[in-house]
Symmetry: C2
Subunit: 330 residues, 2 copies
DNA sequence: CCCTTTCTTGCAATCGATTGCAGCAACCGG
DNA sequence: CCGGTTGCTGCAATCGATTGCAAGAAAGGG
């Protein structure tokens, strides 16, 4: 049922070369008669060229690999939508992988995508494959870091300003009169998003003359008992560095019978569909997720097409969406 | 920097054939000496075979295409996670496309995936490409419908029982003493998920002797003014057939100054990370999303491997998660 | 020691495209 | 009528693997 160029050629009474030239749009010097003939046969057979063969010969697949560290995080849904949109626009296809923050799996995927000869890779990297990634970049392979950077690796990357994001939260809370602000984040060594957000928090506090800060870290797999932490620092506000973690923290605070924002104010990370429907509606740091996806994809496509990018890193700007969860009640 | 089998062969002093046989694990009759020699060269060069060439020759790519109708819906995130997991387990890669419920885009993606010679396709189909899909199935192409069926097409599909899902909601609400139950759904012609849920609702109501029902339909792009609808039917409970739509409805009801569940109870569709954090916590119909993804993927892989599936359709069972939004207050 | 059988390995065709080079036909002017 | 252009098309090599067939080497039997 599947036809080849050979078949089309035979039925049109021409050679493969001619068919190929017509289909690839190399309009140069093909008589209108043969062109019509060939196109009608193509139509009739419903022929479509085998992309594998084409890719093999052309040494390009028009496929981009995407490696995410945690597919379950709803944040990626919007990013993914932007990535898909850009891919579609430029005629690329997307191959998706989920490393689950596992270094070995990530490595296997990188190799595997390369074996499949993807033209470029978008990656939200783990911290476990530094040398491999560095090597890849060094060899000129089109690679773009998505939302995370890796210490010590100069790479094209598209990220959102994490320090600024947290500082928006800090400034807002200070404006509302809160002073004892704690931060809750994930306990994952070396992940730039978390470390930068923690730094942003400390900087922000320091600027207001506060050096006694509280950073609470939750291991992704374990529970976090807020009770002793709360007792020790007695915060009047909490900033959380991740969307799902925010829900977790809210739940734990409720268990301590703390009212939001009366006893403790909350600012969460990532604007989500549900943020405004929580009780009380949640103040969030909104990251431009779709743009993140779009721009990163456009970047990798530019690299593929041989363009030099003017900047190694594109840094997007977060906003704060203020809702009741962080507004001082009288 | 990229080596070919030829290079490996030359450096090992053997022919391509031998290298190929060793790497493809065809252990039959290769002397241990040459095997070791070749493997060491492979190691040294860091050689990995070109999958394009292999795929071309073998006429299989070990890639599965996934076409979703609406990537933005958080429901898919969990499904996707299940799909990815199964793909990974069986050594397949995933190519993702988003039709955005657009028939033309869907068609283009189907053709394009076929051109790329994916081994099989998982699709959450729109209603616009019946003949094409039917034809595909007829030719024996491994295709599995995901979460939706298409009227008039017998296909392998994995779905969740939609009638039963809604009826769980109806029964629960009746148990709580609600009688004037309205349903809100999307106004999309012919989409099985919506039509089946509407039917389930009507059946459930009829069984309780209620023939006067209210189905409110929201066009995906337009606003829905609940005020007149509410006035007309005066429901004491509302079931919503989609997760994001549920948030929308809750917002509109709030604008009408209706208290939940005091004035009107709510049951939403899809168990989400945020459901239990809403105010009040939301009762939901929980679909086994990850299993949906896993099983559909396993099905298409079986089809690819030539197995006959014992049943055309696998129907999974939803559950109800009861929370305060649908519990009668005294 | 020769012939047969069993291991190993290589040759060359194949998968389905793309493309440089060359050849043939038609057309032109002189 | 002939040589030179120009226009159109085909031949055959190539991309990087896989694999049927056959040949050469090694081993075994008489």
């Amino acid at each position: 049922m599947k036809f080849t160029m050979e078949d089309v050629a035979k039925l049109s009474g021409v050679s493969k070369s001619t068919v190929s030239r017509i289909l690839s749009g190399k309009t140069v010097n093909i008589s209108e008669k043969t062109r019509q003939k060939v196109l009608s046969v193509v139509q009739e057979l419903n022929y479509r060229p085998n992309e594998l063969a084409r890719s093999l010969k052309m040494a390009q697949t028009r496929v981009i690999g995407l490696i995410l560290s945690d597919l379950k995080n709803p944040f990626w849904m919007t990013v993914l939508d932007g990535v898909e949109e850009a891919c579609n626009q430029f005629g690329y296809h997307l191959m998706i992988c989920n490393s689950g923050n596992n270094g070995d799996k990530e490595q296997e995927y990188i190799l595997s995508l390369q074996q499949r000869r993807v033209d470029g890779i978008l990656i939200n990297p783990t911290v476990h494959n530094k040398e491999m990634l560095a090597h890849l970049i060094q060899t000129g392979f089109p690679l773009v870091f998505l939302n995370r950077t890796i210490q010590g690796i100069v790479a094209n990357s598209v990220v959102v300003n994490n320090r600024q994001g947290i500082r928006l939260a800090v400034e807002h809370l200070f404006g509302q009169g809160f002073r004892r602000i704690a931060l809750v984040t994930y306990n994952e060594e070396g992940v730039s998003t978390w470390t930068e957000r923690v730094e942003g928090y400390k900087e922000g506090m320091r600027e207001h003359g506060i050096n006694s800060v509280a950073v609470w870290r939750k291991h992704p797999e374990a529970e976090l008992n807020l009770s002793p932490l709360y007792e020790e620092y007695q915060p009047d506000a909490v900033i959380v560095t991740n969307n799902v973690l925010t829900l977790y923290v809210i739940e734990r605070l409720r268990e301590l019978n703390l009212r939001i924002p009366g006893d403790v104010a909350i600012v969460g990370y990532d604007e989500t569909v549900w943020a405004k429907h929580l009780a009380p509606p949640l103040t969030t740091i909104k990251q431009p997720a779709r743009e993140l996806g779009r721009i990163a994809t456009e970047s990798v496509i530019k690299l593929i097409q041989g363009e030099k990018l003017s900047d190694d890193a594109v840094t997007l700007t977060p906003e704060i969406v203020v809702r009741e969860s962080s507004v001082r009640t009288r």
